[in-house]
Amino acid sequence: MSDTALLDVRDLVKTYDSGEVETRVLKGLSMTLDTGESVALLGPSGSGKSTLLSILGTLMKPTSGTYMMLGEELTRADDAALTEFRNRHIGFVFQFHHLLPDFTALENVMFPAAVAAGRETGAARQRAQQLLERVGLADRMDFGAGQLSGGQKQRVAIARALMNSPELVLADEPTGNLDRESAEQVMELLGEINRNEQTTFLISTHDEKIAATCRRQIHVVDGKVR
């Protein structure tokens, strides 16, 4: 693992066992992401992109292989350790915004910090306000999630992903549910954050145009990096 590498996975294998049928989704996948990179993850449906993102996001454990991030071997960590690691170092942006519907935009953004501290601190509130201003939603902070448009929700989701200043943001089809204009705005925002804050982005997409805005592309085909 080089000095600049943020994460390094080696020989990742993920097998789903449904009792009678065993499906191997990742077949010895290896890859590295450097700090500050913006990488597009491409590949056909069923190639293993989502499974790879889940493993990199510590939401799922591989069947075998190693996963090092920030010097920690994560495949052997227990659920509590992974939860804490995820909270501090990884942010997520999903295709469907997945905001908490009973919370305002500000409360949604504050969530990762509040859940770590056990309460909504003044500092967290300030940071969340700055992030919402940055994504152009200063006037929507106290709006409920249901009162926002699709593009606005996704921008709130991006602000939430950045709340704890994570080293890595994993985005799974972040523009897949948006119109062209909103999609361009979201990608522009992600690019800007990547350039200014050296946050590493791994963006899973089917859209070659969006992939082209990233500095590097990784193609996953049949459970391996091509």
Partner: protein
């Protein structure tokens, strides 16, 4: 904890109608619990008061006269003394204890008595009576005659007698009239009827007569000693313990009221058990209601739980969110049910003051604190299953849906 409580509250208030219905359901369960406690407790008090309220809670009795063994070292037939059945059982050394017994905690009244049987004679009429000789100022110490006097009063002199209403009407006598009281010792005294009572118990109203203790000494030829000492306690439930303590402290023969009222106690116990069963059902209903509502909520919020887990919420945090919802529902439902119970049950008169046919509800026995505590605990227990289910939600599965 603060943040999980905030989320729990937010979840509860996000669907106000559903939460209000859930809390109302819990409140009804708590109300049933409190109502049953107040009713069963009140009914118990009412029955005890009506049946044993006018009897002594502890009685010091004369020791029974058992046959004495004259010679116990013989190998052959035992030589025993026949009990002197003709002699009266008498307490001879109890006077010295009376001031100390009166000063014991929990003692309301002590009534030294001389009792015996006799006949009330009026013209050609004769009626058997049980005569109780009491100290003139202690006529109402054990049986509260004062409010049950239908004529005259409870003041006793050396030449007066108080009799029951049935006896008075059987003999056709009233206040101020003279009867002759003939004891089983063949002593006869003319006495003026100074009071007529109606206790509502035929055995007493037809066959009881109260005289002064000095009159009783004459009638029963008992210049010294007493027949028994009756003691009334502030709490009749302490009867057994008090009787045991008194016997061991003084060496006297004591008897608690419960020894002669086993059937009543069995009935009260059965009644209390029935009440407990109904209260138990109310609690089970609360637990099932809360558990099912929270399980539904868990299912409905699976995707949100997955997102929370993805952004760093631990399993413990998720458990706390759902357990706190259960606790909030339990506490709020408990408080509302208890308040409702207090407001609606308070206007009922206490069992001691109800008229015939009234509901003997004793709001003081409503077990309010117990109802709230059990409901809160029950609701928390009910939320554990949904909370555990929520904490096991797989973020990958639900986020992908």
């Amino acid at each position: 904890m603060i943040y999980s409580a905030k989320i729990a509250w937010r979840y509860l208030t996000s669907n106000k109608t559903q939460t209000a219905l859930l809390i109302a359901g819990v409140a009804v369960g708590v109300y049933v619990f409190i109502f049953m406690s107040a009713l069963i407790g009140g009914l118990g008090s009412y029955l005890v008061q009506r049946t044993v309220g006018d009897i002594a809670h502890v009685t010091i009795e004369a020791p029974s006269r058992e046959a004495g063994l004259l010679l116990d070292n013989l190998a052959g037939p035992l030589l025993v003394q026949q009990p002197a059945t003709g002699q009266r059982d008498t307490l001879n050394a109890v006077d010295a204890f009376l001031p100390a017994i009166e000063a014991m905690p929990g003692v309301v009244a002590v009534s030294p008595q001389i009792v015996g049987n006799g006949f009330v004679v009026r013209g050609q009429s004769r009626a058997p009576v049980a005569v109780t000789g009491v100290e003139p100022d202690k006529v109402s110490a054990i049986a509260n005659l004062e409010p049950r006097m239908v004529a005259g009063d409870t003041l006793l002199t050396n030449s007066s007698v108080i009799i029951g209403q049935t006896l008075a009407s059987e003999l056709g006598i009233g206040i101020g009239q003279v009867i002759r009281l003939q004891s089983d010792r063949d002593v006869e005294r003319p006495l003026v009827v100074s009071g007529i009572f109606a206790l509502g118990l035929e055995a007493l109203d037809a066959r009881a007569a109260f005289v002064g203790v000095s009159t009783a000494r004459t009638l029963f030829d008992l210049p010294q000693g007493l027949s028994r000492v009756e003691i009334k306690l502030a709490d009749l439930n302490q009867g057994d313990g008090f009787a045991r303590r008194l016997a061991s402290d003084t060496g006297l023969t004591t008897k608690s009221w419960t020894e002669g009222n086993a059937s009543l106690l069995d009935g009260l116990r059965a009644q209390a058990n029935s009440g407990d069963l109904i209260k138990g059902f109310a609690m089970v209903t609360i637990i099932i209601g809360v558990a099912s509502a929270l399980l539904l909520s868990t299912y409905r919020r699976r995707s949100e739980i997955g997102i929370m887990r993805a952004f760093g919420a631990s399993r413990r945090f998720v458990v706390a969110v759902f357990v706190l919802q259960g606790a909030l529902i339990g506490i709020l439902g408990g408080l509302i049910g208890a308040l409702l119970g207090y407001v609606t049950l308070s206007p009922f008169p206490p069992p001691s003051a109800i008229s015939s046919g009234g509901l003997p509800i004793d709001v003081g026995q409503g077990s309010f604190a117990l109802a709230i505590t059990l409901t809160a605990i029950g609701a928390i227990l009910a939320s554990i299953l949904p909370a555990r289910s929520a904490s096991r939600v797989d973020p990958v599965t639900v986020i992908g849906q």
